[in-house]
Symmetry: C2
Subunit: 312 residues, 2 copies
C-alpha cells in the first residue's frame, strides 16, 4: 500500500510537488485557503517547461480538521504562516508519521518537533523556480530537484535514514529528483548561501537575479554576503566547501532571469519570510560568535520594509 500525503499549503511549492505526487497515483490531500473551491471544481494546472499537465480531481480542504490523517504531511506554507501549525499538524499527522518541511531558512523543523512528538521530521529543500499565477494554477519555470535531510534535536548529522529513503523512493516514482543528505543543517545553510543575497537584494534593489549579477556592485555584494553566510554555517558546525560563493554566483548566471518569491511577496504586499531566511540565521551566527554585518544589515532593512509594507 502506498503512503498517503497531506500537502499543507497549495501555493507554488505545495501545488507543484503535490500535483506531481497526484499524477503518479499517490493518495494526496491538499489544504488550501483562498482557492480551495476553485481547485475542487477545476483541479490543479501546472504549466511547465517539462510539459504542462493538470490534475482534474483534487482532494482539497479549507480546514485541517476535515482532512484524513496521512502517512506523510508536507508543510508548504510560507514560513510567515507557521503560526497556524499547532492548529493543523495534530489533526493530520498519523502516529509515527512523517512531516516534511518544504520551506526555506532555519527554525521550522524545531517548531514542528515541538508541536508533534513521535514523528520523523525531514527538511526538504526545493531547488525550483515556480510561482503561483492564479487560482489552482502553478507556473514551473526551471529546475525542480530537492534535497532531503532528517532533523535531529541536537543539530548533529542524522546520516541517511530509512525514512529518508522511503520518501525519496516515493519522490522518484513521482518524477521528482531527490538527493538524501546526511546533514540537514549543512543543506539548509548551503541553500541560505543563495537565498540570503538573491532574495534579499531582489527586494532591496527591485531587481531580478540577472540584474543583480549584471552590475559589478551588486554582484560583489551578493558574493560578500555569501561569504558571511558560509562563515556563519562553519561556526554553527556545518562547513561548506570553500568555493561555494564563486560557484553559486556563476551558477546564477545560467538561470533564467528570476524574481525570487520574496520579491513577489513584497510587491503583492504579502508578509516576507524575513525571520526564517534572515533573522534566524543571523541569531544563529551571533550565538556562534560570528560577525555577519551584511546579513544583519539586510535583515534590518528588510524588517523595516516588511513592516512598512503591511502598514500601508
Amino acid at each position: 500500500v502506498s503512503r498517503s500525503y497531506a500537502i499543507i499549503g497549495t501555493g507554488a511549492i505545495g501545488g507543484f510537488y503535490g500535483a506531481q505526487l497526484s499524477r503518479a497515483g499517490f493518495d494526496v490531500h491538499f489544504l488550501a485557503r483562498s482557492d480551495a473551491d476553485f481547485i475542487r471544481s477545476n483541479g490543479l494546472f501546472v504549466e511547465s517547461t517539462d510539459g504542462n499537465f493538470n490534475i482534474p480531481h483534487v482532494n482539497v480542504y479549507q480546514n485541517a480538521r476535515s482532512m484524513p490523517r496521512c502517512d506523510v504531511v508536507a508543510i508548504a506554507l510560507k514560513s510567515t504562516a507557521n503560526n497556524i501549525l499547532p492548529d493543523v499538524l495534530p489533526w493530520v499527522v498519523k502516529k509515527n508519521g512523517v512531516v516534511l518541511v518544504l520551506q526555506n531558512g532555519l527554525g521550522a523543523e524545531e517548531e514542528v518537533a515541538q508541536i508533534i512528538k513521535d514523528t520523523s521530521v525531514l527538511g526538504v529543500l526545493c531547488f525550483v523556480c515556480a510561482s503561483k499565477t492564479g487560482p489552482g494554477r502553478i507556473k514551473h519555470l526551471a529546475f525542480g530537484h530537492v534535497t532531503i535531510g532528517q532533523f535531529t534535536s541536537n543539530g548533529r548529522p542524522s546520516g541517511i535514514t530509512s525514512v529518508m529513503r522511503d520518501i525519496s523512493t516515493d519522490f522518484s516514482k513521482a518524477g521528482i529528483v531527490s538527493e538524501n543528505l546526511p546533514d540537514l543543517g549543512a543543506a539548509r545553510w548551503k541553500k541560505l548561501v543563495w537565498n540570503v543575497p538573491y532574495s534579499g537584494l531582489s527586494v532591496m534593489l527591485s531587481a531580478t537575479t540577472e540584474a543583480i549579477n549584471a552590475n559589478p556592485h551588486s554582484r560583489q555584494l551578493a558574493h560578500d554576503m555569501m561569504r558571511e553566510v558560509c562563515m556563519a554555517a562553519a561556526a554553527c558546525g556545518h562547513s561548506l566547501e570553500q568555493p561555494v560563493p564563486d560557484m553559486m554566483v556563476n551558477y546564477t548566471d545560467t538561470m533564467p532571469p528570476y524574481a525570487p518569491s520574496m520579491k513577489l511577496d513584497y510587491d503583492a504586499k504579502r508578509p516576507m519570510e524575513v525571520e526564517s531566511i534572515f533573522g534566524n540565521p543571523l541569531r544563529a551566527a551571533q550565538n556562534a560568535g560570528v560577525q555577519v554585518p551584511r546579513l544583519e544589515m539586510l535583515y534590518r532593512e528588510l524588517a523595516f520594509l516588511d513592516k512598512m509594507n503591511r502598514k500601508q
Copy 2:
C-alpha cells in the same frame, strides 16, 4: 570695500546662502542652469521659518565666462556635477581668491585645488534643511548654520586662518551663523556620520529621518553605520568624540521629519551623490585598513540603484 561673491549653482544651498549674502548688500553673482531666465525676471524667493524674503534683482548667469571674477567663489553644485568645474573656476576665481566648497562628502577640495592654484580652498559644511521647490524658489525648513575649515594638501589641521575669519565675518553680516574649525577633515567626517546613514537609508528604505528613527531595526542600523564612519574617521587621523553616534541619533529625533536631498534626487531620477558621500569615504577607510562593511554595502546598493534610476 566688501568682498564680491560668485555662487556656482543656484539650488537649495546656493540659493539660500547666496540670497542671504545678497540681502546683506554683498555683491553676489549666481551661476544658474534651468531657471536663470526666471531668476533674472523674478528674482529669488526664500520661504523660511525665520521669515520669508525675496531678492528682486539678481545678477544671474548661465555661462561662467560671462561672470565677473569674484573675491570669493562658492561651489554649491551637486558633487555629481563637479566635472564642470574645470570649465567654470578658471573664469570666475580672482588671483589669490577664495573658493568655498559647500558640498557634502569627501574629495571636492582636492579637485578644486588641482584646478586652481594660488587659491585658499575652504570647506563650508551647511547644517540646513532646505529644498528647491520651484524656479528661483527655495524652501528653508530648519537650521542654517555652517562650519568652516581650510583645506590643506597634506590633510593636516590648518588651525584657524585669517581667510576663515574673513569669511565668517562676512557670513555674520549676512545673518549666517558660522563656526571656524581647525580641522576640516574632522568636520567633514563628522558630517558624514549623519549623512551616510540618513541619506543612504532614506533612499534604500524610502523613508524620512523620522521613520528611520521610529523603527528599532533602522534606528539600530543608523547607529551601527555611524560607528563605522567614526572608526574610519579615526583611522584617517580625525578622532571624533566617543558618544557621537548616540548623540546624532537622538538629535535627529528633534528634527522635523526630513527627506534628505539624496532621497529627493532619487525620486526625481537625478544623479545621487554616491561617490562623494559613500564611495570616497569607503575608499579612504579601506586605504586606512578599516573594515566598514555596512558603509560598503550601502555604497554598493546605492550605486546599483543610481545606475538603474538613470537608465530608465
